[in-house]
């Protein structure tokens, strides 16, 4: 790939001369889809990123959000950072290193805001689990994340894993990081003052990862696994850990004026973006960069994506102290130039190799105006099934099955903040600095957004918010990772537009500002485009570190909150996008999300914190059938039945009710059911579906049969992934 002719014309018109090879390569990378969002930016204005809690919104390395002050109605000066990144193409070519470096990148985005990383969440998407190649990628990606995340001491507390045939040629690895900072520590990527020094800190620069940004902006070819390997970087978590500690000292001692981590397009990207944000320029001397290999040329030094490097703006009087700190941690460091009021200029051994306006380089890429087609919705064509068989198939599906095999490989407790561990609806970490628990949920649902991109993305949003609220947390902010296929195909772009609008509209309805994100297009391969995949990582806050478990107690009524099929005889259960249809075949329309979802989420967060609540569990993948099965533990079980309310007399209606995946529903087990009914009165219907029992089993009656599974049966069904990979 090289700079497109039309772009070259534009660049040379601006420069009034021919572009040097280094300039052409810089523009090629920084104006790529991956860096410049040329096909997606026109759509991204749909997002609302404002809010009283938002300290730094989209556009910096990570967003910064103030945590609520539990003692007042306002916000505290303790902040969390939020960032999300995709590492899709590298993870296909080299799953272990591709996924590992994805973790490294998002952690450095966190560091460059003056924050210490306190939690990771990974959302992973692979082709059909049955295929050997999917399993190979899955194992490699999980090992890569485990290797890197564990070593740097950042707990992985939440995430999601989905399998869908359309990821076969193009898996997705979306990694989110939450960091902790405060008013005094926070820094940004806005260069401050001409005359300050530009310092490069971290690993020595080598020839690795050349052209990663432009590689990420093309479809993967059939030979990608061998051909594109040089574009994948190799991570060194030990170097990253030293860099984290170095950064921590630099931030604590207030030695950094602005910072940007080196990611796509390497030093050229980071340093030009840093000065462009401050409306400034720079004079850089590329030969002063500490290098790992001899004889590197200007272009290689500018664009290499060697990992574990940070670019800092440092006041001249602090340079020596920065050097000392780096030396203490055995971290490389060089002064490579100065911030100026002029152009972004780079020289190499006396020769000027780049001399451009930084803002034009960063923001000048023309946007693509692409054609799109409205996606069509499937019609109803339902299968006839045997209930026990369907139940077992859905509970054992790799999508709904236990993900313990995955999160057991992640250190999810380092830092001693994790109060709700992975495997529950949301992870919760104690932020003692502000006296609040921060809940984290991350995921998308390819079955939903394949069936209905717009409504599916709305459902993904509500599902993440419900996950937080079920653990007592009120949503605070979200970041998105928008993954799509080749946008030049109108049907693909139509689906992509659908997920963007769906996320934006629902986040707006829920009053959750979307404070940042990432777009990954061209996830297309010879086996076709991926399902449009809107990964959302949402955080919420709760005044308590504790949360009700998803596991049922022996005593207490089990209530289903928010089920509109039971409440309204005219609402039919729609099975579109369900795991049930994926297993059994057939099609249906996708269930729409409820109108008053915001009130539901707010109330649920409050109710979940009340003492009478023994267990809460969001109803999502696999529907009610799976949610009930997941609540059974060694200690207690559930007796449940199709309620008389709702008139679900026919077999098909009852099956639809058990397996539909309509969002905005939650199971609440309580000793005070009247209190729950009162709380949700006028907002969401509340129906008794059963109660706890001492026997660790699920007894589920429908009108014509009874299902009964004990905890070992359920565990055996849900062990699909472990059975295959251990």
């Amino acid at each position: 790939m090289s700079l497109a002719d039309s772009d070259r014309e534009l660049v040379e018109e601006e420069l009034g001369r021919e572009a040097t090879p280094a300039e052409a390569a810089l523009f090629e990378n920084l104006w790529s889809e991956h860096c410049a969002y040329r096909s997606s930016r026109p759509l991204l204005s749909a997002f609302d990123s404002e809010g009283e809690q938002v300290v730094v919104g989209p556009g910096d390395d990570a967003a910064v959000v103030a945590l609520p002050n539990p003692n007042t109605d306002g916000y505290s000066d303790t902040y969390v950072t939020l960032g999300i990144e995709s590492h899709n193409h590298p993870s296909y070519v080299d799953p272990f290193d591709g996924a590992a470096t994805g973790v490294g990148g998002i952690v450095r985005d966190t560091m460059s805001m003056g924050a210490y990383p306190i939690a990771l969440a990974d959302s992973l998407y692979f082709g059909a689990f049955e295929r050997e190649h999917s399993k190979y990628l899955f194992e490699g990606v999980v090992e890569g994340i485990s290797h890197y995340g564990n070593c740097i001491g950042v707990p992985t507390v939440a995430g999601s894993v989905d399998f869908h045939a359309d990821y076969e040629g193009n898996p997705l690895v979306n990694v989110a990081c939450v960091g902790l900072t405060d008013e005094d520590r926070m820094i940004t990527a806005v260069a401050q003052e001409p005359g300050n020094k530009v310092m490069l800190v971290g690993n020595a620069t080598g020839r690795d990862g050349l052209g990663g940004a432009s590689f990420a902006s093309e479809d993967l070819s059939e030979d990608a696994e061998t051909e594109d390997r040089p574009a994948v970087q190799v991570g060194d978590p030990y170097a990253e850990k030293l860099l984290i500690e170095t950064n921590e000292v630099l931030v604590e001692e207030n030695l950094v004026e602005s910072a940007r981590d080196l990611g796509a397009a390497g030093l050229g990207g980071a340093s030009s973006e840093l000065v462009a944000k401050g409306g400034l320029g720079a004079d850089l001397r590329l030969e002063d960069v500490h290098q790992r290999e001899p004889n590197m040329n200007a272009l290689e030094i500018l664009l290499a994506e060697s990992q574990e490097r940070m670019c800092y703006e440092v006041a001249p009087e602090n340079v020596e102290r920065v050097r000392e700190v780096c030396e203490r941690f055995d971290v490389g460091c060089s002064v490579i130039g100065e911030v100026t009021e002029g152009n972004y200029v780079a020289t190499f051994q006396g020769e000027t190799v780049v001399d451009v306006d930084a803002e034009f380089l960063g923001e000048g890429a023309p946007m693509n105006d692409l054609d799109w087609e409205e996606p069509t919705e499937p019609e109803r064509d339902l299968p006839t099934v045997d209930l026990p068989e369907a139940f077992e198939a859905v509970v054992a599906s790799p999508n709904t099955a236990s993900k313990r095999w995955v999160y057991r490989q992640y250190d999810h407790e380092v830092g001693v903040r994790t109060s709700v561990r992975p495997g529950d609806d949301a992870g919760v970490v104690a932020v003692r600095e502000a006296g609040v628990g921060v809940a984290i949920s991350s995921g998308a649902a390819p079955n939903w957004t394949s069936a209905a991109p717009y409504e599916g993305a709305k459902a993904v949003t509500l599902e993440n918010a419900t996950n937080l609220a079920a653990k007592g947390a009120t949503p605070l902010a979200a970041v998105d990772c928008l993954n799509g296929g080749n946008p030049e195909k109108p049907d693909v772009y139509g689906g992509f537009k659908g997920i963007v609008d769906g996320l934006a509209d629902m986040c707006s309805d829920l009053e959750v500002p979307v404070v940042g994100g990432n777009v990954s297009l061209y996830n297309d391969s010879p086996s076709g485009p991926i399902p449009p995949t809107p990964t959302l990582a949402m955080v919420g806050a709760t005044p308590s570190y504790d949360a009700p478990s998803m596991e049922a107690s022996a005593e207490g009524e089990l209530l289903l909150v928010g089920d509109r099929v039971l409440a309204d005889p005219d609402t039919e259960a729609r099975l579109g996008g369900s795991e049930y249809l994926r297993q059994q075949g057939g099609s249906d329309r996708f269930p729409s999300v409820p109108e008053d979802a915001s009130a539901f989420v707010q109330l649920l967060a409050a109710v979940a914190r009340e003492d009478h609540v023994q267990a809460t569990h969001d109803v999502s993948d696999g529907g009610l059938a799976v949610a009930l099965a997941e609540m059974v533990s060694e200690d207690a079980g559930i007796v449940a039945q199709v309620p008389e309310q709702g008139g679900l007399s026919e077999v098909g209606e009852q099956v639809g009710w058990l397996f539909n995946e309509a969002t905005g529903r939650v199971l609440v087990q309580t000793t005070d059911p009247e209190r729950v009914r009162e709380a949700f009165s006028g907002v969401a219907p509340v129906v008794r579906v059963g109660e706890g029992q001492r026997d660790p089993r699920l007894d589920l009656s429908v009108s014509w049969t009874e299902l009964s599974y004990d905890v070992d049966d359920i565990a055996a069904l849900r062990a699909t992934i472990e059975n295959e990979l251990d």
């Binding site: 290797h147 070593c151 030990y238 490989q409 250190d411 999810h412 407790e413 380092v414 001693v416 251990d726």
Partner: protein, 230 residues
């Protein structure tokens, strides 16, 4: 009285150890390995993490860091030394304790909660428990399988050097309750003196009242007991 928590490059449980020790009333500070042990230390904790990235073999590089000469001297003088997780691997690699911790039977990293049976309650580390007590602590390691030759294991067992064994919730050290394939379910051992101990599970992750339980507190209080006993 100050306990030194030795930070190597790649240590990542050092801050957790500091907070946990402070919560049980032990004065502690993090010491960078290149700075050496302060003169007046009353205890040493080798924390978890991935010292030197575990690149050669878990703990192998840190064990050869000059500060470990100070730590060995201190241990010989009866200064309490506790190695946890990577610190336990460093402890074995540096000869503070016998045996070695190597790759889990599963060949994967494992983060989960396990049960441990207190084998010897007559040490500063375990005096807060009763013999046979079953406690719950988290593990988080890829190389935690305890290995040692049969003769030396017999010796350790005869001399009451085994501190904890992995067990089920009823205290049975069964094969199923062994998370990593450790020989005889050994999770932690004593060094030459009772004041030196290493274990793979993380007591510092079970010490704060608000998160993670408190089963690790009595163990950390061993720093106080060991000093009092001297």
């Amino acid at each position: 009285m100050t306990v030194a928590i030795v930070r190597f490059g790649g240590s990542n449980c050092d801050r957790d150890a500091l907070r946990a020790l402070e919560s049980v009333g032990v004065d502690a500070e993090i010491v960078w390995h290149e700075d050496g042990l302060p003169e007046d230390v009353t205890g040493v904790m080798l924390p978890g993490g991935f010292s030197y990235g575990d690149y050669l073999r878990a703990g192998a590089m840190a064990a050869r860091s000059p500060i470990m000469n100070d730590v060995r001297d201190a241990a010989a003088d009866g200064v309490p030394v506790l190695g946890v997780c990577n610190g336990a691997q460093v402890g074995c690699e540096s000869g503070l304790t016998d045996g070695a911790f190597t790759t889990n039977e599963s060949a994967r990293f494992q983060c989960e909660h396990v049960h441990l049976r207190v084998e010897n309650a007559d040490t500063p580390w375990t005096a807060g428990y009763e013999p046979g007590d079953v406690i719950s602590l988290p593990i988080a390691h890829g190389e935690g399988r305890y290995e040692i030759d049969d003769d030396r294991l017999t010796q350790l067992e005869t001399n009451d050097r085994v501190l904890f064994r992995y067990c089920d919730e009823d205290g049975d050290p069964s094969v199923d309750a062994n998370p990593n394939g450790s020989k005889h379910n050994v999770a932690g051992v004593l060094g030459e003196r009772d004041t030196t101990a290493v274990l793979m599970p993380h007591p510092e992750r079970a010490a704060l009242a608000d998160v993670g339980g408190t089963d690790g507190r009595p163990l950390l209080e061993g720093f106080v007991r060991a000093v009092d006993a001297e």
